[in-house]
């Protein structure tokens, strides 16, 4: 599946969509496929601060528990509450309805350290 080319990607398989000073973050389809059926997600608290590449939540598949690593630093302004009841959205629509959190960017230049779609595709090939 082709990756959205308006996103940036981290080595930990998270994506970020930057719109002005606001960023939306989530996990990639590659991460979701690797995890298998996702049955539980632990979201960050609204108002909490995320550090770039620091853990900010947890996803659990039937078999495994995996940390979420934020691709950027900033303050959480909104989380995807739907995921609490429907964690399977992370598998079915990881780049859309399966978004995890919206963040006020602390440092827009951090995005430069992330990969574009081509680089991430090569990374996961």
């Amino acid at each position: 599946m082709a990756l959205p080319d308006d996103l940036r990607y981290s080595k930990e398989h998270e994506w970020v969509r930057v719109e002005g000073s606001r960023a939306t973050i989530g996990i990639t389809s590659f991460a979701a496929d690797e995890l298998g059926d996702i049955v539980f997600v632990e979201l960050p608290d609204v108002g909490s601060s995320l550090g770039q590449f620091a853990t900010f939540g947890v996803v659990e598949s039937v078999k495994a528990v995996s940390d979420l690593f934020s691709p950027i630093s900033g303050e959480v302004v909104e989380v995807n509450e739907t995921l609490r009841e429907s964690p399977e959205l992370l598998n079915s629509d990881p780049f859309g309805d399966g978004w995890i959190a919206k963040v006020d960017l602390a440092d827009a230049s951090e995005v430069d350290a992330l990969m574009d779609a081509d680089a991430y595709t090569a990374e996961t090939a």
Binding site: F40, V58, V62, V65
Partner: protein
Amino acid sequence: MTGAAEPRRTPLTDLHRELGARLVPFAGYEMPIQYASILEEHRTVRSAVGLFDLSHMGEIEIDGPEAVAFLRHAVASDPGALVVGQAQYSMLCQDDGGIIDDLIIYRLADGRFWVVCNASNREAVVEQLDELLVRGDFDASLDDRSDRTALVAPQGPNAAALVAELTDVDLDAIGNYRSARGAVAGIDCLVARTGYTGEDGFELFCDADRARELWEAVTTAGERHGLRPCGLGARDTLRLEAGMPLYGNELDRDTNPFEVNLGRVVKLEKGDFVGRAALQAIALAGPSRMLIGLQMLENAIPRAGYEVRANGTAVGKVTSGTLSPTLGEKIAMALVPAELSDIGNTFDVVVRERPYRAEQVKLPFYKRPRD
């Protein structure tokens, strides 16, 4: 164990790869953990029929005039009580009552048995049986047939109808924990009505070189029965819902049968056997720990190794835990001090350093509907 050595393969490893399975190291083997979705595979076994490759498991044949006397001495159950064609769940214990492995013992003929053991314990089981055989000078032979034997297991409510299409063996005559020799899809099999999923189903043992043929015949016939190949991921959630112990999780050498609600397996009255003195003492005094069922009252998934607390104090550990696909509840088995075990008691399970409330419930979590 096997360390960095090349993983062992079953006769079906290539086929699993062709089917797109995700293969993982398991007990020294490369085994399919899932084909597409563990949840779907789990539900298929509960509602239709799933097909498992269990060829990694060990099959050890004991044959000879003193096979009964030998097995009665070696294991905790009484294989002498089996009629030909019958099987029993059993355990191989150490002198101190600790569990070396759990087994299913099939009586194939008067003096011929199959001992089926976990792949991860095969060497230990063979070693223990060999040693006891020699030391006791029993007139019986031991043959580890594991590498020559494949095991293909259709499990689920549609399994009987599916297998019936492929065999002349009268499946109605094979009750639970019974077996018969016969051809399935023209392939000589031991057809056993055993399993590890909590559903009706079969375990078909055949020669390793016929495994692919058998798998493909069952798969083709299974199409109209809703069959799906299933991996070890679903097998684990299925057996956990059914309250069945897994060696390495609920069972190990530091655990005795009475602690894990399997005292009924131990036949103290059959005469002397390995571990009898220790097991009798435990039976008299009562076990100090108990394996219990927990259902989470709060929103966190318990996992193997997580701490269990009572009144804020660490009292035990989760041995297995998951989100139950059938029940939609977060469930676990845990070993706790026996005096704390009572249905309805509450505990905390520590998940990522936070305690979450759980209630003790009856095992098994899931029982299949029977007609």
